[in-house]
């Protein structure tokens, strides 16, 4: 299936949770936040929520700013 992660189309094989998705892309798990189809997903729910085809996922962290 195809999902959108931070605006990029990514091919995912098999059923994965948000936690596994972060692991698969070697993304940090601390001090990041995840949004699934425009709704913030609490960290405690990352394990149980499965990614579905065409999901739009935003994963953010913090950078310098004013």
């Amino acid at each position: 299936m195809k999902v959108f992660i931070n605006g990029e189309i990514k091919e995912i094989t098999g059923e994965v949770s948000l936690t596994e998705l972060l692991e698969n892309f070697s993304l940090p798990r601390e001090r990041v936040a995840v949004e699934l189809n425009k709704e913030v997903v609490r960290k405690k729910d990352w394990e149980t929520i499965r990614v579905k085809d065409a999901d739009k996922i935003e994963i953010v962290h913090f950078v310098g700013g004013g």
Binding site: E35, V60, H61, F62
Partner: protein, 256 residues
């Protein structure tokens, strides 16, 4: 003299809030942060890059400092609200610098969208610190809906033009004597910061003026002193401006 800066449910010694963007290195940013005496710094929320490993930018910030995430880069209320929610989830803070930009060239705020986003975020329990155009009526609306402070711009973000409309700031101070007013954006040099404070701003938020200085740590010190000087001057009450001279030495009694 104890002159603490109260903001929402927090108390600060410093009236200077600074950014974390545009520094040439993390080390330079840390030196500037220390020199500034600031107790709160802003950070931006951004997509994690998928193609490379990243380190946590937050590790470079003094853990004593309060981190104020912003909604920079958002051009409408919806994106700003989503960004604020993400920031809260990642940082476990209700504080947000609300910034809804209306135009890429000027980066001037979209006041209408800012108000709309502020209304939603306040209802969700956020401590909303809104960046907006220096307009009294807009300030009143933002305070009415529950923002604990308002953050009018001095000039466009990163312009360094200083307080472009001192009359607006003075009117805002006089008409909203109890409001917390933080001048956000546009300061270029310490005299700009001092002017804003002399006009009655409670604090100043700046980034570029320090980060783009050749010696950012030294400029941070200069800004700290300017904010303190301007604040003291405001509390002292300035002399009236006069069109004509007023002699400091007695005219009568001079030898003839």
């Amino acid at each position: 003299m104890t002159d603490l800066f109260k903001l929402a449910d927090e108390t600060f010694n410093s009236r200077l809030i600074i950014g974390t963007g545009k520094y040439r290195s993390h080390q330079e940013m840390q030196a500037a942060h220390t020199a500034s005496g600031a107790e709160m710094v802003t950070v931006a929320v951004n997509r994690v890059p998928l193609d490379r490993a990243t380190e946590s930018f937050l590790d470079y910030l003094n853990p004593q400092m309060r981190i104020l995430p912003n909604t920079a880069g958002c051009f409408d209320a919806e994106h700003a609200i989503r960004t604020a929610r993400l920031a809260r989830e990642a940082l476990e803070t209700d504080w947000i610098k609300l910034e809804v930009i209306g135009d890429k060239i000027t980066l001037l705020p979209d006041n209408e969208q800012t108000l709309e986003a502020a209304r939603v975020l306040v209802k969700e329990g956020f401590i909303v610190l809104p960046y907006f155009s220096d307009d009294l009526i807009m300030a009143k609306k933002l305070l009415d809906i529950g923002c604990p402070a308002v953050m009018p711009l001095a000039a466009p973000i990163g312009s360094g033009l200083g307080v472009c409309n001192p009359a607006n700031l003075k009117i805002m101070r006089e008409q909203l004597p109890d409001a917390t007013i933080i001048v956000d954006a546009g300061v270029g040099v310490p005299s700009d910061a001092a002017i804003a404070m002399e006009l009655g701003a409670d604090a100043i938020l700046m980034n570029t003026a320090i980060a783009e200085a050749k010696d950012s740590a030294q400029m941070a010190t200069a800004m700290k002193l300017a904010v303190q000087a301007g604040r003291l001057a405001y509390l002292s009450g300035r002399m009236p401006k006069r069109l004509y001279a007023s002699a400091s030495s007695p005219i009568e009694g001079a030898i003839k």
